[in-house]
């Protein structure tokens, strides 16, 4: 029958083996810390410090006023002021600037005579995300400037009308009152850092479980294990529980760093989050066992893990929004446990929502985990017999 002592013995053997290697200890801490640093500090999709060249052919008070709006906007760093638009080409080629604003001659004259003053902007579209934002920034700047000019014109008309005794023309302006929920300052780290818990659990448990089982096969010690009275279920428990402990430990570590170092708001319930973490870990362990049954060497296990991990991570919504994916791919994402876990972890951290909102994700994750884990265990027993 199923014996706790045997599972415990197996568990200690496994933990011992894992921690005997001092490099391994570093490796338990390394990946989470690296991801925390990168996603806490480096991954910043906010576009700032746009290197810009301004060519002002007009050199009038009006053109200077217009370009100073760009200079003082806070998003742009005007590091080049060439006198000629030709000189912009090598600057863009070499990446010295990513956008060039060319104010054409006659800018002020056109404005004063009521004609359209033209400004040309050349963007280095290599980084499409940055360019999209920059185009938007510039549109807002020129729109506001245009509006100011129109308002001036209206005021002049009103002055004339007042002199002629006609009523003034009135026109309102729309004010946008933006309000960001859940993340007032729109900080990228608040979005990415909680998700690291899911990413690390998947990366580490998947890889370690698969490799630990396959190593026994590769070195041949699995045969020694099989001649002992230990049963396959006990092997599985003994093999997976250590990694479960490591994964929980890593989750706690990431949560602490997220909350106390990065000041990520934790608005929801910690026990609920742990419930989610546990269910999610089980799905990863199951997948790890499955990979171990289809690989015979550690290298194979690693390659197969990578093969599963990369699509699962990239399609989960961790970095890339799911709504942007082609429809067929969006259906595939329903099969990825990390997808549900990310909604859970972000919902609990940033929105502070509970089961009443997150129940669909919990149910889906629970079903997936149970199915993956039981199928893998069945397969494992079959291969070991």
């Amino acid at each position: 029958m199923f014996s706790i002592t045997k599972v415990l013995q197996m568990l200690f053997k496994e933990l011992n083996q894992l921690m005997r290697d001092p490099k391994m200890k570093a490796l338990v801490f390394g990946p989470p810390l690296l991801q925390l640093i990168i996603f806490g500090y480096a991954v910043n999709l906010d576009v700032k410090n746009v290197r810009t060249a301004i060519v002002d052919y007009d050199r009038t008070p009006a053109s200077r006023e217009f370009t100073s709006l760009i200079r003082s906007n806070g998003y742009f760093i005007v590091n080049e002021n060439p006198d000629n638009a030709e000189k912009v080409v090598p600057m863009i080629d070499s990446g010295a600037v990513v956008c060039a604003v060319v104010v054409e001659k006659g800018f002020m004259k056109n404005i004063e005579s009521g004609q359209t003053a033209r400004v040309q902007v050349i963007h280095d579209g290599t980084d499409s995300n940055t360019s999209t934002m920059v185009i938007n920034y510039l549109n807002v700047i020129s729109g506001k400037y245009s509006r100011g000019l129109q308002k001036d014109k209206l005021n002049r008309m009103n002055a004339k009308r007042a002199a002629a005794g006609a009523p003034a023309i009135r026109i309102g302006a729309i004010n946008v009152e933006p309000r960001a929920w859940f993340n007032e300052n729109l900080e990228s780290k608040n979005y990415f850092v909680p998700g690291i818990i899911g990413n690390i659990i998947m990366l580490v448990t998947l890889m370690l479980t698969a490799m630990a089982v396959v190593r026994e096969k590769e070195i041949g010690t699995i045969e020694q294990l099989m001649v002992t009275p230990i049963r396959p279920v006990e092997i599985i428990l003994g093999k997976t529980i250590p990694f479960m402990i490591i994964a929980i430990f890593q989750s706690i570590m990431i949560m602490c760093v997220a909350i106390f170092w990065f000041d990520i708001p934790m608005l929801g319930s910690v026990p609920l989050l742990f419930a989610g973490i546990l269910i999610f870990i089980i799905s990863c362990l199951g997948l790890g066992i499955f990979i171990s049954t289809i690989s015979t060497t550690q290298q194979q296990a690693m390659l197969v893990t990578t093969f599963f991990f990369l699509p699962a991570m990239t399609l989960s919504g961790f970095m890339f929004p799911i709504v942007n994916m082609p429809e067929a791919v969006q259906y595939i994402t329903y099969l990825i446990p990390l997808r549900y876990f990310l909604v859970i972890v972000r919902g609990i951290f940033l929105k502070g929502v509970g089961l009443n909102v997150l129940y669909p994700q919990f149910i889906a994750l629970f079903i997936l985990s149970t199915v993956i884990f039981s199928l893998s265990v069945m397969r494992f027993r079959k291969t070991i017999d």
Binding site: N44, D46, T126, N129, I169, F182, Y191, L310
Partner: protein, 377 residues
Amino acid sequence: MKMKRVMAISKKEFIHVIRDTKSLVASLLIPITLLVLFGWALNLDVDKIETVICDFDRSPKSRELVSRIEHSRFFRVIAHPSDMAEAEEHIMFGRAAIMMTIPSGFGRDLERDGSPKIGVAIDGSDSNRAGIGLGYMNNMIMMFSNEVLKDKMISLGVKKIDPPVEMRQVVWFNPELESKNYIVPGLIAVIMTVIAAMITAMTIAREWERGTMEQLISTPVRGQELIVGKLIPYIAIGYLDVFISVVMSIWVFKVPFNGSYALLFFISSIFLIGAMSLGMLISIVGKSQLVANQMSMLIAFLPAFLLSGFTFAIENMPMPLQFISKLFPATYFVAMVKVVFLKGVGLRVLWYDTVLLVVYCALLFVLAKTKFKKSLE
């Protein structure tokens, strides 16, 4: 260094590689999977943002504004809730990212000199999407506001109403602003690092772990011959992967290629040797396959994936991290491949990075050579 012994080692390694069909297939399938993912499935373009609009005004002006937002490619209006609570629920459950509220009296205020307020609430938990969406929203509302002003002036008999300033924005190198054109070229570097980390990093660790290193030590083969011999098959796989990546990028995913194939081949070769040497170095230091694997994740794969500027622009990172990113050869290579693909500039612009890359790769190779001790402890 004797060529004969090098060839013998690399022949042995080739047999290992070919015998292990699963690994060989995986080392070709992983690049293809990555290319399909990044070329087709994933993009960072922000459009079709789920939006709910509460129009409490229902005046001609507010309807016009709503219809503009409905017709914009940036927004997908999923509901017109009749009260705030219902709208807020859409945001709470994550069904919508933006909620726009037009207060009653909006149209009337706009006609007079009032300043009607439009509330825009965004789900900040996805900060990037929300921020970009807010930008688009601001821009659209401002344009609408300007046009209302213009219409008013026309109705009052002002004849010539041209926009006072017209900004013509041209985008070079990637006119459609597709994120795939930015991401896919850099993927070649990531693929190369994955292969180096997954396959090369195992090779020497495996010999130690299985005890076959002792047999190799008893042969007259020298350390550097062993390293070079072992590198050759993996470099061959690497070239195959480069070839697959370039062909798929250009002909399947239609990433514009404006540069020179010779230059691309040249810099890929340098990077390939460097990446494989790094894999070898990890294998020598790691000793066991599990450790080698985790190490390569940490110092090869994750930096290449996240710090190299492959998806996230280095310019937006804080200074210390910008500096750290410069320590990894993948960073230079990613930047160069993107430039060769999209801008089509040559060595004239890239010579500095090329020199750095060469120095880097030579260093890695020498380090691998010196770290390897052909002795039993």
